[in-house]
Structure formats: structure tokens, C-alpha cells
């Protein structure tokens, strides 16, 4: 069943469509990527880019009556998209788990956290209640909850935001899943707590050899923890590469725009930032050609208005670096060099 050379999670041509009154919305459009065990893939994008829906589709969290999912998500040789609801539910919580931005979305306000953690164990393992509680205690200790013996009988509302986030991580990891998807897990947290949580996820990942998909909009987090990066825009991956390539050799104008928009603590302050003009597209009315074209400063360098009419494909430019852009390789490279020089120049 398992092919030694096949990646642990392999997503192929994943497409998610939501039928709405205003026509069907293609939230995710032909997304493909793979993640190995022990590695981290960061999916970067702004609101409406389809990054969260991608994760939900993999985890089988989308209601099949309200959405249509096509493509494949091979987890260790088995296709999650083709599985029935019960089968996916069995995988979820044991072989794969997800953590969210808001811990209260995963924690029941009426139950003590110990009961909720034990339940996660009892559903997936044949152990006694006592053994499950001991596992829960052990896990709370692991995620750095002080005084876990007392805390295990707390209700979620009695814990601080950072503590709740830890409890949610404990719950997600209590069955040592092989795949963890984290959807903006630290966005609501303070930077000092964020640093602790990211370190915690990294440590547990090493220990359990977990494949991690980190969904975020924060380029600092990407630089901190990612091995591979997929940049999403308008439901599509527009650039995918190893983390160093994304930061030091980016190619797609959107990625360049993102890098230029963020104020950076590690460089001398520029008087004015250089933001991407306009707004992200609405998934209801995506541009017909390149999804980024309406905001792209370089589409006039492509002949015959190709960016407006023809959809660019994601093309591998070597070394596992894929770019979805009509610009000629040389022109694109020249633009990237200019932008990066300007960014670096602002730091001298």
C-alpha cells in the first residue's frame, strides 16, 4: 500500500466549489502539494485565498451537501477525498489532527479539560478511563501547563488564551498524529506566547515525526518554521518552493509584493511602505486570466494582454521551485532582482 518513494501526504489537483445563490464559488482551484513526515509546509495567503478551505477539505471537515470536493489527498497511500465520512472521522484525531486560531472552537465550554482530553483517547484507543486520564495528564505536562494535576479539572473558561491554545494542542496531539494542520494557531496570541507555542509545536513535531501544515499570513512565522512554502492567492497556488527560495529568490510578483508590504524589524525603517495596490479578489468573481493581474504592476510586460485572458499554469523552474506567471523567465528574474535590491537597499 505504501510506496517508499511516495510522500507521506500528497495532495493532487484539489478543487473545492461551493454552490451559492450568486453562482458557484471556486474557493480552491487545482491545488497540489506534498509533505513528508517531520517536515513543515507553510501555506501563506490573505483572506479569501483558499488556504483554510484547503485544510478543511483535507481534514474532511467540509459538509458534502454544501460543497463539492474533487482531486486527491493521499495520506500514506489512502485517498482522504474518496473516503466515506466515517472513515475520515476515524483518521481524524488518530492519524491526523487540526488546531485552530480560536481554541474555543475545539473545546467544549461545559466539560472539564481532563474529560475532553480523555475522550479523545478513548475514542481512538482501547484503554481504560484511568489510563486515558493519565495520558491526558502526561500530555498537559508536555505542553507546559503549570500544575497539570489541578488544571486537568479546570473548565476552558478558567484558563488564559495561551493556556487554552496549549490544551487544544494537547488534544490534537494526544494520539500522536502523523499529520498536523495548524490554521493560524497563534494569530490571536501575544508575541511572547506565540514564540512559546511555535517552539512547542516544533518540539512535538520532532518527537512524533509529524508532518505539519502551517497556515498563516505571517511571513515571520513562515521564515521561522517552514521547510517548504506554498503561496496561495485567489484559490490557487501561485508560487511554491523551499523556504530559502521564497525569501531569497522569489519569482512571482505577488510574493514580491508581500515581501515589500511588511514593515521589517530587521532592517532600517523606510519612510513609506510599498504596498500592493487594490484589494484581494472576491472568490465569487475571479479574474479570467491570472488571478493577480488586476493588482500586478508588471502585466504590461507580457505580450497580447495574456495575463488578462489566459490562465497561467504553475510551472516548475527547477529545484522544486514552481511559479504561476506569464512573465518571461529573464524578465521575471530582472524584476525580482530589482525588488529585492530595493528592499535590501532600504536597509543600508
Amino acid at each position: 500500500m505504501t510506496n517508499a518513494s511516495a510522500p507521506f501526504l500528497s495532495v493532487q489537483d484539489l478543487t473545492v466549489t461551493f454552490p451559492t445563490e450568486d453562482g458557484s464559488v471556486q474557493a480552491v482551484d487545482g491545488v497540489s502539494f506534498s509533505v513528508e513526515r517531520g517536515k513543515t509546509l507553510a501555506i501563506v495567503g490573505e483572506s479569501g485565498s483558499g488556504k483554510s478551505v484547503t485544510a478543511q477539505a483535507i481534514m474532511g471537515l467540509l459538509d458534502r451537501r454544501l460543497s463539492s470536493v474533487s482531486g486527491h489527498a493521499w495520506l500514506d497511500g489512502r485517498d482522504l477525498v474518496a473516503m466515506g465520512d466515517d472513515e475520515v472521522r476515524h483518521e481524524r484525531g488518530s492519524r491526523m489532527a487540526m488546531i485552530f486560531q480560536d481554541p474555543m472552537s475545539s473545546l467544549h465550554p461545559f466539560y472539564r479539560i481532563g474529560a475532553q482530553l480523555s475522550e479523545a483517547v478513548l475514542v481512538h484507543q482501547k484503554v481504560s478511563k484511568q489510563a486515558a486520564r493519565e495520558q491526558a495528564l502526561e500530555m498537559l505536562n508536555r505542553v507546559g501547563i503549570p500544575d497539570p494535576k489541578t488544571r486537568i479539572d479546570s473548565y476552558p473558561h478558567q484558563l488564559s488564551g495561551g493556556m487554552r491554545q496549549r490544551v487544544m494542542i494537547a488534544m490534537a496531539l494526544i494520539n500522536s498524529p502523523a499529520l498536523l494542520i495548524a490554521d493560524e494557531p497563534t494569530t490571536a496570541l501575544d508575541v511572547t506566547v506565540q514564540a512559546q507555542i511555535l517552539e512547542l509545536i516544533g518540539n512535538l513535531q520532532q518527537e512524533y515525526d509529524t508532518a505539519v501544515i502551517m497556515i498563516t499570513h505571517d511571513l515571520g512565522i513562515v521564515a521561522d518554521i517552514a521547510d517548504q512554502v506554498a503561496v496561495m492567492y485567489g484559490g490557487r497556488i501561485v508560487e511554491a518552493a523551499a523556504v530559502d527560495d521564497i525569501f531569497y529568490r522569489p519569482q512571482m510578483p505577488y510574493t514580491l509584493g508581500l515581501l515589500a508590504s511588511v514593515p521589517r524589524l530587521d532592517q532600517v525603517r523606510v519612510e513609506r511602505l510599498d504596498p500592493i495596490p487594490g484589494n484581494p479578489p472576491s472568490p465569487i468573481s475571479l479574474p479570467p486570466g491570472c488571478v493577480f493581474q488586476p493588482r500586478c504592476a508588471y502585466s504590461d510586460r507580457v505580450a497580447d494582454h495574456a495575463c488578462e485572458g489566459i490562465r497561467p499554469e504553475l510551472i516548475d523552474i527547477g529545484g522544486g521551485h514552481a511559479v504561476r506567471c506569464h512573465l518571461d523567465g529573464d524578465v521575471r528574474q530582472a524584476i525580482a532582482t530589482d525588488v529585492l535590491d530595493a528592499l535590501a537597499g532600504s536597509g543600508t
Binding site: L198, G220, S261, L273
Partner: protein, 389 residues
């Protein structure tokens, strides 16, 4: 830096401000059993056309400070002077004319605008409330404002709910600048926005400041955003300002251990730099503002704390020009947690010429035992990876 009490031209001056919220017991006859000391002795001033950044983690009292200085929350004690007028104890009625001078921009552009009102009504509301009739009429004034903040004036009759988050924030900004206030309190104005939109809004705020000379009290948790927009920055912790300094001085030479910890925790968008960084990890959680720690409020989480910090409240000291800190053992001249360094040391050079000779400042710090605390610091050092992954 230059302001002296005698020649005070600040648009906002806050002295020893305290905002405490009573904690009441349950039952039929609730009694006050404690005080949440959300703001506990904050002093600051904002000069005309200046941006003062107020940064800190959640629960530090930065938003309460922002709201109290506009009298949206009643202060417990202290004084608030708006453009030379003491507004601390004014009645709601007396405050109405002063609202022209001070406005607010909110974090959540979805909750701050009435979805049943058109953009024209929302932006025109300040004119109506204050009975101001601009030359050419309200409609023209509103459309000029819309154009100024980057909205299409033809959308005058659209409803707020038809706009995206970034555009809504522009509507909120247009409403705030409508009467040309002297100061705007911005409470996390970009934190709910997408990365590419954040930069647009920050540039807009900057342009409006250049045009109208408006001052901002900019409340935010994001240290890079605050650095981008502020002239001076105040760092808050548990209701206190622990460090206040000109921007470049604060970011290139942070003195308070808490500021170091905050700066070192911000992940940098540069994988190699990030892998080689030293991070200070704070232990524990924020203490309860009902029962703040004795002595220095930060001592329970501070990696430099000594017995003295547990007992003695540190005084505010000016250790660099305009750069004040409340700490017994400031981290003078140490690289830990300092973010701008190496080839980018230009920022350090740009710090205004020192008013006191450095030797004197160092002597001062050594005397207080500051440099002696350099060793035994419990921080996590990143892997010494010189080669990229």
C-alpha cells in the same frame, strides 16, 4: 525630548493616569472586593503632528489608556489635558465641543460602522453632530474626504456592508479626520487587515498626518507596525509604561528587559536571520491586574530580577536622550534581543546626539548594578547555523 513643562504645546498631556475597574462580589448586595488596575499611573504627552505608539501585550492596559484619554472610560485619578484644557472631570455635555479636537479609529471596521447607514451618512455624521456646515455643503465635503482616503466618491450612497475590510477602515478614517481633529486615538487600526492592505492604511495615516498635522496616539500590539508609524514609542506592561523613547532609540537600544523580550519574540521574515537569533523566553503568564506584583510589576517574569525588584518600585530614569525606563537593572549596551544590528547599524548611528556623555550614563548604570547582571541570563540561544538549510 524637547518639551518642558513650562512651554507645553502638547495636544495631549496625561499625568499619573489611573483607570481602575471595581470587582464586585456576587449576591443580592454586591460589595466591591477589589480593583482591576487596568491603567496604573501612566504619564505621557503627544506633540502636534506627532505619533506616539503605545505597544504592549493583551491586558497591559494600552486600549484602556486610549479610551480613557478620550474620556470614553472615566479615569479613577490623574489628569488629562487636551490641547491645554483639562478634561479629566468635564461633563458629557461640556465634552461635546472638544470632540472636534480628538477622534478615534477602531480596530474592527466591521463593528465600528453601522451597516444600515450609507457611507455618506457615516462620514457626514461628525458635521451634523457638531453642527458644522462646511463650505459647499456636507455632501461635497464628504465626497472630498472619500477621495482623499482612497474611496470612490460615487459610492456616496452605498452601505458600509458593501465594502471590504480595508475600504471600511478607510471610511472610519474619513469619519475621524472629517473635522480636522488635532489628535486621533487609533486602537489597533490595522491588525484586522490583510498584510497588503495594512501597508496601504499605514501609508494613508502617514499622508493625512503630513497634510493636516494631526497627531496620533497609536495603540497596537505589533512592534513592526508601531515602528513603521511612530515617532516615539511607549511600552506598556500591566498598566504601567515601562519604557518610553524616540523610535530609533527604543528599537536599536532597548533598555527594559521586557522590551528586549518582546523584540526578540517577533519572528523575522528572513529564514537565516531567524535561525541564528537569540530569543528571550519569558516564563509564566501575565499576573492578574487585580493583584499586581509588589515592587517592579515585571519582576515575576523578569530574567534579571533580584530581591530589590520584589520590594522597591523602580523610578523613571532618563538614560539616553528622551529615552526613559523604569527598571533597576536596565540592559544598557547589550545585544540580547536587539533586533537591528550588524550591517544595518545605521539606525544606531541615527540616534540623536547624546545629551549626557556616554561614560556618565554607563557609570550610572554600573552603579545600579546593571552591567553586573549581564551574565546568567536565562534565554534560549538559536542554533549556531552559519550555513543555510
Amino acid at each position: 525630548m524637547t518639551d518642558t513643562p513650562e512651554m507645553d504645546d502638547s495636544v495631549l498631556r496625561v499625568t499619573d493616569l489611573r483607570t481602575h475597574f471595581p470587582v464586585r462580589s456576587r449576591g443580592v448586595f454586591p460589595k466591591t472586593i477589589g480593583q482591576v488596575k487596568a491603567v496604573d499611573g501612566v504619564s505621557l504627552s503627544v506633540a502636534p503632528g506627532e505619533t506616539l505608539g503605545l505597544v504592549g501585550e493583551s491586558g497591559c492596559g494600552k486600549s484602556t489608556t486610549g479610551r480613557t484619554v478620550l474620556r470614553l472610560i472615566a479615569p479613577t485619578s490623574g489628569t488629562i489635558e487636551l490641547d491645554g484644557t483639562d478634561i479629566t472631570t468635564m461633563s458629557a455635555k461640556q465634552l461635546v465641543p472638544l470632540r472636534r479636537k480628538a477622534q478615534m479609529i477602531f480596530q474592527d471596521p466591521y463593528n465600528a460602522l453601522n451597516p444600515r447607514h450609507t457611507v455618506g451618512t457615516i462620514i457626514g455624521a461628525p458635521f451634523e453632530v457638531q453642527s458644522v456646515s462646511p463650505p459647499g455643503g456636507v455632501r461635497l465635503a464628504v465626497q472630498e474626504l472619500m477621495e482623499r482616503v482612497g474611496l470612490n466618491p460615487e459610492h456616496y450612497n452605498r452601505y458600509a456592508s458593501e465594502f471590504s475590510g480595508g475600504q471600511r477602515q478607510r471610511i472610519g478614517i474619513a469619519r475621524a479626520v472629517a473635522l480636522r481633529p488635532k489628535i486621533i486615538v487609533c486602537d489597533e487600526p490595522v491588525s484586522a487587515l490583510d498584510v497588503s492592505i495594512q501597508a496601504q492604511i499605514m501609508n494613508l495615516l502617514k499622508d493625512l498626518q503630513d497634510d493636516f498635522g494631526v497627531a496620533y496616539l497609536f495603540v497596537a500590539h505589533d512592534l513592526s507596525v508601531v515602528r513603521q508609524i511612530s515617532h516615539r514609542v511607549a511600552v506598556m506592561y500591566l498598566g504601567h509604561i515601562v519604557e518610553l523613547a524616540p523610535r530609533d532609540s527604543l528599537y536599536s537600544q532597548p533598555l527594559h528587559p521586557y522590551t528586549h523580550a518582546l523584540l526578540s519574540a517577533v519572528p523575522l521574515p528572513d529564514p537565516r536571520a531567524q535561525a541564528n537569533r537569540e530569543q528571550i523566553r519569558l516564563s509564566g503568564d501575565l499576573p492578574s491586574p487585580i493583584n499586581p506584583p509588589s515592587g517592579c510589576v515585571f519582576h515575576t517574569r523578569c530574567f534579571r530580577a533580584e530581591d530589590r525588584c520584589r520590594v522597591e518600585v523602580p523610578e523613571l530614569r532618563e538614560l539616553l536622550p528622551g529615552h526613559t525606563v523604569t527598571c533597576h537593572f536596565p540592559m544598557f549596551d547589550q545585544q540580547v534581543g536587539t533586533v537591528i544590528r550588524g550591517p544595518q547599524s545605521a539606525a544606531t548611528e541615527r540616534v540623536a546626539p547624546k545629551a549626557r556623555p556616554p561614560s556618565e550614563v554607563i557609570a550610572d548604570v554600573v552603579e545600579s548594578g546593571g552591567l553586573a547582571r549581564a551574565t546568567g541570563v536565562d534565554y534560549v540561544t538559536g542554533p549556531d547555523a552559519t550555513a543555510p538549510k
